[in-house]
Amino acid sequence: MRGYAPILLLFLVALALPVIIWNLSRLLRPYAPSAAKASTYECGITPATEARDQFSVRYYLVAVMFLVFDVETVFLFPWAVQMKELALFGLIEIGIFLFLLLFGYGYIWSKGALTWE
């Protein structure tokens, strides 16, 4: 456990630093609020809308599909690590897996889920 002592120290320093800086600047700065200062900074232009904006629902659809196909690559990882040992058999199996993924892709494509109206 001794090897971890510096990390613990770093952790404590990291915790203390923002607290110190924040309090220090609060003590030193002048206090003069104005409307312009409180408004959102948007490259100098007057802000048009609120910062909180709704995403289109389409975005969620694409995001969900990305998520699924993205995480499927997790199954490629163990194969890639052991590729030599698994040899041809592993290659064929991973080929079958990717081939199956293709059907899912074909399905969402034919459903029109990938077109952004």
Binding site: A87, F89, I92, F103, Y107, S110
Partner: protein, 487 residues
């Protein structure tokens, strides 16, 4: 091992075990794409027909599969597997038959509906044969994920989506508990195996010294399963999900996943964790007892027949858990299988009639059954047979299956629980008989008659006929069936 040898062994030894579920998965995938492109949008019946055929073929393949273990001892085909796989396929077929009226009313294309049913039945068929915690957990999830979507399938009805969300959130919660329990057991056994038989041996050694890990792990696995079969106190999702789901899916949920989850329950606890039985027997007894009491008492005050059937199914699960507790795994499996088979018949018939009345704009409330005995005597008679059999009133077949189960429980020394089961059965008789009384003794305004769909009529006729046949042949037939299928 050379490539050719490995391939040959996989193709000749392992794969035949999975022909049934594999067919379902392949067919459902092809239905979605590219099959979907080739069948006209107006043609809704075609997919129902295809899905039913695929299910039948998968059932036949599963029943003729060789009795063996394969896939690195992850999957096993034996009597238990085949028997419960047959029940799941039956549940799927009945659901497809009952879905017709509701799906015809939908504007959208419905290929996904059938594909999801096929995928979930695939998950169930894998689940009952799983002999490894890995294969068990993932087939359980395959089954559950499909059903979440099916419950929320009517996405333009608030009720359906709400039920879907509730079921999903609680389901995800329970699957987290189940997986954590599995990970604890894996850890307690030294982190080397997830195979049920091997785990059992290792855990029995660890557990002898009173290991907290084993105890916590097995309890969490128990909780996860109790969620899936909707046993008290982990039943909260079931009445809401049952009420909000499309009614054919309610029927599906009350039949097929229950059969599959009970099959897995038997596999995991009845045969798998026998070595640490002392750790889970008492909690399971409490769960079973609470399910019987709460399921039946809560069913008493339901106004909606869908909710009544939901609560009563909680109670039925309570009875079936008696079979899991049996020290004689074989006899327990037979008793549960027979109970589930008769339950499937009664439940499918009752739901067919419920869906028919719903199609006319009635049927959810028990009051809608007023005067059914006068308006449609044949239908009312069939409904009476189903309800009386569900109540377990002799000489109907529901009585025999209850009797076999209770007799086994007494023989195994669970006397107090069996007495509780008998007492709560009497409570159950009250609310089932109440519906019968409403049908025959309450007057109702005359309503128009609508013809019943041919498939629904088929379901009602076949279930009713089978129940009556079972009634006449009674024990002998059931005993014989149990031994043939599971022996």
């Amino acid at each position: 091992m050379s490539f050719a040898q490995g391939l040959l062994e996989a193709l000749t030894k392992d794969l035949p075990l999975l022909y049934g579920p594999a067919l379902l998965a392949v067919a459902a995938t092809l239905m979605l794409w590219p099959g979907d492109r080739f069948v006209g949008r107006g043609n809704k019946k075609a997919w129902a027909f295809v899905a039913a055929l695929v299910l039948l073929a998968a059932g036949a393949l599963a029943l003729t599969a060789p009795t063996d273990e394969g896939f690195n001892r992850m999957f096993r085909v034996d009597g238990l597997t085949k028997g419960f796989q047959a029940l799941c396929v039956m549940g799927g077929l009945i659901t497809i038959a009952l879905s017709q009226p509701q799906l015809n009313a939908l504007k959208e294309q419905t290929v996904e509906y059938y594909a999801l049913i096929l995928f979930s039945v695939c998950g169930m068929m894998l689940l009952v044969g799983a002999t490894d915690l890995v294969s068990m957990y993932f087939s359980l999830e395959l089954m559950a994920l499909c059903i979440y979507v099916l419950v929320a399938y009517l996405r333009h009805q608030e009720r359906s989506v709400e039920a879907g969300l509730k079921y999903f959130l609680l389901g995800a919660f329970s699957s987290g508990i189940l997986l954590y329990g599995i990970s604890l057991l894996f850890a307690a056994a030294g982190g080397v195996t997830t195979n049920l038989a091997e785990l059992n041996g290792r855990l029995a050694l660890v557990s002898a010294n009173g290991s907290l890990l084993v105890y916590a792990g097995v309890l969490m696995v128990l909780v996860g399963f109790a969620f899936k079969v909707a046993a008290v106190p982990f039943h909260m999702w079931s009445p809401d999900a049952y009420e909000g789901a499309p009614t054919p899916i309610t029927a599906f949920m009350s039949m097929a996943p229950k059969a599959a989850a009970l099959g897995a329950f038997l596999r995991v606890f009845g045969t798998g964790f026998q070595g640490i039985a002392s750790d889970w027997m008492l909690p399971l007894a409490y769960i079973a007892g609470a399910s019987m009491v709460l399921g039946n008492v809560a069913a008493l005050r339901q106004q909606s027949l869908k909710r009544l059937l939901a609560y009563s199914s909680i109670a039925h699960v309570g009875y079936m858990l008696l079979g899991v507790m049996s020290g004689d795994a074989q006899a327990g499996a037979q008793a549960i299988w027979l109970y589930m088979l008769t339950y499937l018949l009664m439940q499918s018939g009752a739901f067919a009639i419920l869906i028919y009345l719903q199609g006319k704009g009635e049927g959810e409330r028990i009051d809608d059954f007023r005067g059914l005995g006068r308006r449609q005597p044949v239908l009312a008679f069939a409904m009476m047979v189903f309800l009386l059999s569900l109540a377990g009133i002799p000489p109907l077949v529901g009585f025999f299956s209850k009797f076999i189960l209770f007799k086994l429980a007494i023989e195994q020394g669970h006397v107090a629980l069996t007495v509780l089961a008998l007492l709560t059965s009497a409570v159950a008789a009250y609310y089932y008989l109440n519906v019968v009384a409403v049908m025959y003794f309450k007057e109702a305004p005359e309503t128009e008659r609508a013809p019943m769909g041919s498939l629904a009529t088929l379901v009602v006729t076949v279930s009713c006929a089978l129940i009556l046949v079972g009634t006449f042949f009674g024990f002998r037939l059931m005993d014989w069936m149990g031994r043939i299928v599971l022996g």
